[in-house]
Symmetry: D2
Subunit: 406 residues, 4 copies
Amino acid sequence: MVIQNVAVNRLEQQPLEKQEVEFVERKGLGHPDYIADAISEISSVFLSKEYLDRYGTIMHHNVDKVLVVGGQSKPVFGGGEVIQPIYIIIAGRATTEIKRNNFIEYFPIGPVLLRATKEWIRNNFRFLDPDTHIIVDYKIGKGSADLVDIFERNKKYPASNDTSIGVSYAPLTETERIVLETERYLNSKQFKNVMPAVGEDIKVMGLRRGRRIYLTIAAAIISSFVNDFDEYINIKEELKEKVYKFIEKYTEREVQIFINTGDDLSKRNESGLYLVVTGTSAEHGDDGATGRGNRINGLITPQRPMSLEAAAGKNPINHVGKLYNIVASKIAKRIATIDGVEEVYVKILSQIGRPINNPFIAHASVICDQNVFNNIRYEAENIISEELENVHLIRDDILNGRISLF
Amino acid sequence: MVIQNVAVNRLEQQPLEKQEVEFVERKGLGHPDYIADAISEISSVFLSKEYLDRYGTIMHHNVDKVLVVGGQSKPVFGGGEVIQPIYIIIAGRATTEIKRNNFIEYFPIGPVLLRATKEWIRNNFRFLDPDTHIIVDYKIGKGSADLVDIFERNKKYPASNDTSIGVSYAPLTETERIVLETERYLNSKQFKNVMPAVGEDIKVMGLRRGRRIYLTIAAAIISSFVNDFDEYINIKEELKEKVYKFIEKYTEREVQIFINTGDDLSKRNESGLYLVVTGTSAEHGDDGATGRGNRINGLITPQRPMSLEAAAGKNPINHVGKLYNIVASKIAKRIATIDGVEEVYVKILSQIGRPINNPFIAHASVICDQNVFNNIRYEAENIISEELENVHLIRDDILNGRISLF
Amino acid sequence: MVIQNVAVNRLEQQPLEKQEVEFVERKGLGHPDYIADAISEISSVFLSKEYLDRYGTIMHHNVDKVLVVGGQSKPVFGGGEVIQPIYIIIAGRATTEIKRNNFIEYFPIGPVLLRATKEWIRNNFRFLDPDTHIIVDYKIGKGSADLVDIFERNKKYPASNDTSIGVSYAPLTETERIVLETERYLNSKQFKNVMPAVGEDIKVMGLRRGRRIYLTIAAAIISSFVNDFDEYINIKEELKEKVYKFIEKYTEREVQIFINTGDDLSKRNESGLYLVVTGTSAEHGDDGATGRGNRINGLITPQRPMSLEAAAGKNPINHVGKLYNIVASKIAKRIATIDGVEEVYVKILSQIGRPINNPFIAHASVICDQNVFNNIRYEAENIISEELENVHLIRDDILNGRISLF
Amino acid sequence: MVIQNVAVNRLEQQPLEKQEVEFVERKGLGHPDYIADAISEISSVFLSKEYLDRYGTIMHHNVDKVLVVGGQSKPVFGGGEVIQPIYIIIAGRATTEIKRNNFIEYFPIGPVLLRATKEWIRNNFRFLDPDTHIIVDYKIGKGSADLVDIFERNKKYPASNDTSIGVSYAPLTETERIVLETERYLNSKQFKNVMPAVGEDIKVMGLRRGRRIYLTIAAAIISSFVNDFDEYINIKEELKEKVYKFIEKYTEREVQIFINTGDDLSKRNESGLYLVVTGTSAEHGDDGATGRGNRINGLITPQRPMSLEAAAGKNPINHVGKLYNIVASKIAKRIATIDGVEEVYVKILSQIGRPINNPFIAHASVICDQNVFNNIRYEAENIISEELENVHLIRDDILNGRISLF
């Protein structure tokens, strides 16, 4: 099939790495917005797999609206407890009635969502107990489908569900890589073994001014590991040292690190410190929602093209708000490897009803020398066409966990 | 007071107006994400006013997590009804216990939120009945305050509540203006008088390729005004004509308009058309959440710097996720009026704990000729300093409805 | 049709009127349990009428599980306000999908329940605002029906839905009549005109010891009508006088009346008094549930046979927990008018699956002289048979509001 | 202390055992109303113990309003699954803020309620999984207390919280004993080992007409143990045989047993049978509520004096709706052992504000020969006085599980 509406332009612009100022943010594993994204996505994955098991096809669903309502907790040095559980509501749509051989089968939407959520929490948190620290509820609009009728879904390229835009860029700047890797490091198994007091709720804000990088890190500290005020101060110091050490391999620039700048150290008790019982600030008043955190490259990058679509929780069949962000990312990464490309920005616009491999426009802007542009353009167009033809393969990567989305 | 950390750079970049391809989106009044934003913001405004009335000061609150869970409806030609109400949950935090003269006073958080929401719906929708089409609930974490103790809040420049980024730019491109104004026109009182069949849920997606502009409009049509299939087709035609006419004054470019491209016209009955009973697609399965729609200039602009902070629902005292987006917008608009400025991008980064007039950095990138840059820089720095000094005045503009946020 | 299993016995027992001690209770209109019963029943009535309108038959439903969760309020002399709304959840089952001519029609269960509840509150309370003082939600299990298939429901005598017992007795004792009529008097329009300060939440507990009757009345007083402590005391006195006067016509016995014995008068401020803002104690922490208040004669009578079935909210077609209590009541009242009958107790036991006019047993125990029993027995058996044959007519009385159930 | 208002009368009445007709019902462990009662009570017990642990005293609480909203399930021969979880909401009041040494401590109401509920389910059901078959939520009105101020609660005899009636009687009739013991037998560990297919949801309805006893038993059968229609029939037969055998020791009367009379055997498939996946009919549309099932002797006895108070979930300190039912039961059992007593009915009426050992009246009606009444009266009055003096000891029996309430 001939892919239409592919366009590649040369962008006259300074690459971000060469600009004077740069802002990058990452919300880590235990951040309430991350939790919301993760529960949206694991819900979609569990639903997709269960649909495949039962019906051989992934039924329509969209669970990209998870709300995490913060609870109440009381961290105290050497202990602490949850006072009021975190409340999580999973909202969206799903096919719940399937007609097969003239009988209607009911899909166990509730048990699947509850299992997905609790399993994800058990696998990702050390001190957050799904039994007593969390209430999980759901509000799912119910749909029906006829197994003989779902021709559309089984098409190689089903129709786009919406008119929306996917965007991406490549490569990451040094500051972007540092922000991304720092959070991953702090939430790695290895690091938790070394510094178990550092909770899962970590936010990294990077600022680069010229040759200096400033990292402002908010890291929830688990109160049961901290026996007194001095120990808290020591943990922050140790944490700072470890981060300095870790990022040495990523940069030659001067780096300055701030940890928990919101602390009020004057009282020398728990009240002014960033302490948590369970690892996440959702335990005490911080709410989260799907689509409010990292973009699919794991970062929030105000100076970069960004999509406002939540990729998490959308279905991997025809939800272009998910697929086109992923395709754009794959395209950008490949174009960035072409000789002479300094930076590339990719945008794909769907129109509701068009086949997913045939967007309204797929467009790449390349920063490069004028004289190499023609070659790049030719290669880039081929890459775009190829990736659009392969858009239907993305679902497998998603179900097998080969694509991270936040 | 000397404002620190103000920086202005020259950006070597093509203005968006001159680039080959441009994408712009606006979610209109009846879009579920817009509804969520609006209820967040009206809730904050009602809370702020009630706090002011009772205590002379705006107490801490944050209601930037509204979830709109779609209901179920049955639009039919000439009628239709809601089958299952829309469910709206307002999540966040607020001060509910205030100590005054040794007594604790309880703030009526629930009644205030319910009144705000229902009033907003009654004022903005013609066919959406808060009594029977909607269930409003809330989950608000409760806080307490001592009136003698809230010195911090009454400071001219209280401390930032978070480490976050506000961004803006100016001016709007022609395409951006068209997308913005088209939705406003279609949701204006005058237009509703002329074409009452056009519902409040309108989404406008603009694409510019070179000299051509493509507008893809999704407009919910109210079923009780449509007696049959042919009338629906006529309404779409009339709507298209009216938009063509309306945007004539905004552009000389060639424009192509698409209305409800998702329609399946083959069945000639209600099932394939974009019909609604109440004006919003939230009535049938579309969910919405605060912060998932328009940025504070009313647009979604993937090629422009964007903040992911939801301005709606945050408090106007020290929530930099709200204030800094507004300040950035005011700064950008003013800098854009300086002679020689083609485009300006503004970013302001807070650090939790710093006074709100003293961000970690406030930065403007200006597209202009090299030779006028020095003058511009000087003026721009002054503008930034001035607007930061006036950051505390924004709250009044917000409470008086002089600032639109989505 | 011959009615089987009808039995009438003579009971050797002192009528309650002649016993030494007697206990009777009535929970009035504004009591949270009454509110729950009323919302259950009005919901069933609205559903039944809507089903009849649309389909010509009353579809299966059961909404006999309403939970009223108390809110929080702050009554103050001369004013007061609701701090946290009352939360009402309507639980049960209903037919929501009806197949007609091969199409499935969806029944608007939510809008009907919301309208029923809000209308009932607006009609029965003066100061309770459904918009801001109450949140109404529902959890209704959905069922489906095929219009060509509902032969069973359209039978004259459909099958019983459950194995359960209906009971009743007649006549009321003097004390029972006094308790019942006192509450009705205090919640009558006329009385509210005279003493508007007396709220809807009234509970009357009657105790008779020999020739003395003690009435303990809890009457919520509406704070906006009470300007100070002394006025509260005066209102209680005036209320007491009015009740003394009212019950003169019902008894020659000595009567002693207690009003709001829980009051703590020592503080002379609002805190120790029974003050409310809206008329019901549900505004501040008192919860209610269907089936926890008055039996269908409007009373709680521990010394009398009572059914634990909630009549309110059950459907009037084949829910014997509702129908058999009503039939028993009609039978008891008629038998009580037979010459020589001092008291009669009626019990009817269904067995799931039997036609509703053919219970497992319908039994009356009559207190009377041995020598008149044979005549009474014959008449009583006829009455029982007749009322069982007419069991299918009860539904009309229910829908038209001719039968009160609590 | 002299106990006032104790009265004992002789009742001229046939004991129930000698009357012609008798009705008795018991809702078993897996019945939704039983589940609601049990969760109310276990919640109160866990709260009480946690309060004692932390503060040395049981704080005010009342959780006597649990609502169990039925889910949806699909039992199939040899398997089956839950489609939609059961939703359980625990409503009531509790002390959540405790002032100690000028600091406010927050009580973890949510985690305690969640743990209590899930533990009870895990301990009492074999196939009901709290993780995926149930959603537990709560709506608890919050109260505060000052540890130096709770003198009232620490009084030996605190003030009654309400004006309400406790009632009881003794002894049980043969039919009552049979109904009670049959359910206990069918839900015993031993029986489940022998017939694991018999679920926890068992309801026994007893009718005695003269010398014949009829038991109508509804017993949920667990689908995974039933491979086909014939096996279901065999299980019912085996169950019937086992019950016939079991009750031989309780009666010489003729007994007739009915099992699952609602079954429609004509279809020979799952649809007409009483099959469940988890053991309780709450899995499919049957709702339950606290206080709607058995009275504190484990039975529903329409011909006997009954209280409508829910004992379950009330606090054991001053909630007379709980305490007076228990005291009445203890008094009745003791009086029934006095020589010459055929039956005894006990009623205790509180008045809000009076000390719990000093009710408005405590009254026993004794069926006995006139000539032994004076002796009985004297003994009975002593028993009443003694048990009222010991009313404060009941709390320990409750916390230690020595008193069953439903």
